[in-house]
């Protein structure tokens, strides 16, 4: 059929020649068809490589180097893993990892419960029908890394020790994201009710997110000042003018966390609100007709249906939360001592003295932690949620 068409179009070309040409070009054109997709996305890939991957690799090299100043310029001297060893076992390890205290009943109980849970989950997976070698290996690695982080948290927070910037960051992320999610869910459920003024409050609840983080930090700096500021009459009334939030390690961390929760709850709120508003009414109506209570409707219908949105927004906030820097920097400059210093602020503090290698090493440690937690979250939680729904 193809040969007949060709001979009609070009009468003076022999059928044999056309057949030959077609057979020669067919693989090329087929290959071009196959490559077309790749060719079209190549510019985007090149842009990403240039602006994302290259800086990543360059900063990896920087983290293995030390900046030196010479006549008229700067140089990078390769120092191997010196910058990392400073953080993990060297002069800066207490600052980064914290100081472990003697085990307490609480820290031991916490660790025992966490480790037992991890062993149980691993055992259940190993005995389950979907077990694969790769899956099991991945889970064992995740369990070991998570176990190490939990050990660090338990022995620096639940003992007489003190947390380093790594654990402080984990506390910020864990507490902030949990509290933000709970408040945002409550507000979203409230706003979808047909209450008077709900449109007004929908806008008001979004306002904190619109303010620059540095502005929020200055706002909370004024609010936490017990010797002056807008809340001064309140502190006087309660006799708290001699108390300072920000000179106590946990008071200062709490101030930072309240500021972060205040600013970022609206982000989760808006996503959950959109998810709840798009739920099919038929399901809820059917449940109500069947006699389901409000709690049952929430637990059996609303919550499972917003789980995909939940898992996505929590992942975004997890990744964003690790980068917290504005609030502790402006509110307390990382103090008292190093109590409120996050990993990003740690990197920034080192960078200010132009120790760019040391700063890049902290940034890479942050990247490793964020990647580990992000990937674990996606593998263990998000995929399951997606499959479930």
């Amino acid at each position: 059929m193809e040969e007949e068409d060709l001979s009609k179009v070009s009468g003076y070309v022999s059928t044999r020649g056309l057949r030959l040409a077609a057979s020669t070009w067919r693989p090329v054109s087929a290959r071009l068809d196959r490559l077309a997709g790749s060719v079209f996305i190549l510019p985007a890939v090149i842009v990403i490589l240039a602006f994302s991957i290259f800086p990543l690799l360059a900063s990896l090299y920087v983290s293995l180097s030390r900046l030196t100043f010479s006549e008229g310029g700067v140089g990078l001297k390769f120092v191997g893993f010196d910058n990392y060893s400073k953080l993990l076992v060297g002069i800066d390890h207490v600052h980064f990892l914290g100081l472990a205290g003697s085990p307490t009943v609480l820290s031991t109980a916490f660790l025992a419960a966490a480790y037992l849970l991890m062993v149980f989950l691993l055992y259940r997976y190993a005995r389950g029908p979907n077990v694969t070698v790769g899956g099991l290996a991945g889970r064992v690695v995740t369990a070991i890394a998570a176990g190490a982080l939990l050990w660090l948290v338990a022995n620096t927070v639940l003992t007489s020790g003190r947390p380093g910037t790594l654990v402080v960051t984990l506390i910020y992320v864990g507490v902030d994201v949990t509290v933000q999610y709970l408040i945002a869910l409550g507000l979203a459920l409230l706003v979808v009710q047909h209450l008077p003024g709900r449109r007004f409050f929908r806008v008001v609840f979004l306002l904190p997110m619109m303010i620059t983080p540095v502005g929020v930090a200055y706002l909370f700096r004024m609010l936490t000042d017990t010797s002056k500021g807008p809340l001064y009459p309140l502190w006087v009334h309660f006799g708290l003018t001699d108390v300072s939030w920000v000179t106590n390690p946990w008071g200062a961390r709490l101030a930072v966390m309240i500021g972060d929760v205040w600013q970022w709850t609206p982000f989760i709120f808006i996503v959950l609100l959109a998810a709840i508003e798009t739920l099919p009414h038929e399901l809820v109506e059917a449940a109500v007709v069947d006699g389901a209570s409000r709690l049952q409707v929430f637990l059996r219908i609303t919550f499972p249906l917003i789980l995909p949105a939940t898992s996505t927004v929590v992942l975004i906030r997890l990744i964003e939360g690790f980068k917290i820097v504005d609030l502790p920097n402006v509110l307390t400059n990382g103090g008292p001592g190093t109590a409120t210093e996050s990993m990003t602020l740690h990197a920034y503090t080192i960078w200010r003295a132009l120790d760019i290698g040391g700063s890049a090493a902290v940034a890479y440690m942050l990247l490793i932690v964020v990647t580990f937690i992000g990937v674990s979250y996606v593998n263990l939680f998000r995929r399951r949620v997606t499959a479930m729904t």
Binding site: F69, G72, I91, V243, T247, G335, T338, A339, D355
Partner: protein, 497 residues
């Protein structure tokens, strides 16, 4: 007779012409720089940036040069300037910065050598600038790189009315300072029926706290004169921050952290100055800024109630041969007053202006003319009397000419008291020079500052703090090169006064 008259007339005319020529060539602010824009970077302020911004339009009217003042947070200024020059971005033509950083900026060849310009600029009146600021703030290895715009010494301020009422003398030692602070802590000091504070001091992290600590520590660590140094042993570059003298200073520092406002650990100098001039503190440790701020009617409630004295000292100092504290005697404390060793600390060294060597020739001329204009007595004599400028006296005329001080609202007694405290520091043979070696920003702003913040917060005890500072400093010294750092440190102490 007429011949003599004619000769005298000719000589007079010649003298007048010479004088006119001389003025014409050396008054840098009379040059024409139309079309030239000078980008000057300094810290956010409002101090320091304020006088530069305020006087920029006047300078433009005089010379045609447009001055654009760019501000960045103080904690970013060091790396911002260095990165800009090292990467050859050169977006700034002039810098108003901490002269302690010359140790990093000059060896890189980034700054213009101003030696000849200064020599040929009669309007600047170079010799009117106090020798310490000419030699320390402006000069590095024999060459002039900056024009001083500010004179920095830390001293102690006290409320004259309160001390007089209770029959107390201004503090001579740090023990005196503590006892006065304890005496007033919790009492109402400004008549508003609220409890106030014995002492207000900047103790916030990443702010000015480490200068405050050195002001205390120097009294224990340096007693043999300026060249002894307060930071390192000049024979082996070992830090002298791990000994009974440094421990005594840490204990004073910790005690004072509890004799102030409840959030003192989160206060910088802006906070402590605000508290002092509103009458909430009996004592404060600060640079010269409180003097002019105390007479500023817009914010001060303690006008003519503020006295200033040289930094308190100690009767026991570190004997470097035994590394133990020992009582002062004529050998150990040759410069002691009434048995008290005072070590006035030239903290920071005073904001100074420098020029980017890579800028265009005409821009560099305009930048120099602007810095010279800012420093000339006509401008600086007024600026140093205004609290919000952040500029403190640094010229001989600033100390001898009381008129601008009286015009600013200071009483003659207060002016003499304030200037006397600075002069006593400036003339002390045991003056403490601030650190000025490569990577000074790491030694002080990162290591010392963080360790002190951890100490105040209770994260480290006295021994752990001293040990951490020592090991971090040693590690940095070894990284940069112990011998080269030692050479730089010794060179920085060989200042002729």
């Amino acid at each position: 007779m007429s011949r003599y008259l004619a000769r005298a007339l000719i000589l007079t005319l010649a003298g007048a012409v010479l004088a006119a020529c001389s003025n014409g060539t050396t008054t840098s602010s009379n040059q024409n720089f139309s079309g030239v824009t000078v980008h000057v970077v300094t810290f956010t302020g409002p101090q320091i940036a304020e006088p530069l911004q305020r006087r920029a339009p006047d300078f433009e009217r005089l010379t045609g040069a447009k001055i654009q003042v760019i501000t960045v947070p103080f904690s970013d200024l060091y790396q911002k300037v260095l990165t800009d020059m090292a990467t050859k971005t050169n977006s700034y033509d002039a810098f108003v910065f901490d002269p302690q950083w010359l140790g990093d900026y000059v060896p890189g060849g980034y700054l213009e050598d101003l030696s000849d310009r200064v020599k040929n600029d009669s309007a600047l009146q170079w010799n009117d600038i106090a020798p310490f600021f000419r030699d320390f703030s402006a000069t590095f290895k024999g060459h002039v790189y900056t024009i001083p715009l500010d004179g920095d010494f830390q001293m102690v301020y006290y409320r004259t009315d309160l001390l007089q009422k209770d029959g107390l003398q201004p503090p001579a030692t740090w023990d005196d300072y503590i006892s006065i602070a304890q005496h007033f802590q919790g009492k109402d000091l400004n008549g508003d029926s609220k409890p106030d504070f014995g002492s207000c001091m900047a103790m916030k992290r990443s702010a000015q706290s480490y200068w405050m600590y050195i002001s205390i520590a120097a009294a224990y660590l340096q007693s043999q004169g300026t060249k002894q140094g307060s930071f390192f042993d000049t024979s082996n570059m070992q830090p002298i921050f791990n000994n009974p003298g440094a421990a005594a200073a840490l204990n004073v520092y910790k005690t004072l952290s509890k004799l102030g406002p409840p959030d003192q650990l989160n206060n910088d100098v802006g906070d402590s100055r605000g508290l002092f001039v509103t009458g909430r503190c009996a004592l404060s440790l600060d640079w010269g800024d409180i003097g002019p701020l105390a007479v500023d009617k817009t914010q001060s409630t303690v006008q003519d109630k503020v006295g200033a004295v040289i930094l308190p000292g100690s009767k026991r100092v570190l004997d470097r041969s035994t590394m133990q504290l020992a009582d002062c005697n004529s050998t150990l404390c040759p410069y002691a007053t009434n048995g008290v060793n005072h070590s006035p600390y030239a903290a920071f060294g005073g904001w100074s202006g420098a020029i980017n060597r890579a800028s265009a020739a005409k821009t560099k001329d305009a930048a120099y003319a602007f810095l010279s204009y800012m420093s000339q007595p006509a401008q600086s004599s007024v600026d140093v009397t205004i609290g919000k400028t952040g500029f403190n006296p640094y010229r001989t005329t600033h100390f001898t000419n009381l008129k601008p001080w009286l015009d600013s609202g200071m009483s003659e007694k207060a002016a003499k008291d304030y200037l006397g405290a600075i002069q006593a520091s400036l003339q002390s043979p045991n003056m403490v020079l601030d650190l000025r070696i490569p990577q000074t920003a790491y030694y002080q702003q990162t290591s010392l500052d963080t360790s002190l913040a951890q100490f105040l917060a209770g994260e480290l005890n006295v021994n752990q703090t001293m040990s951490q500072i020592t090991s971090q400093w040693n590690q940095k010294t070894d990284e940069v090169g112990r011998q080269s750092q030692l050479d730089a440190y010794k060179a920085s102490l060989s200042v002729t006064k």
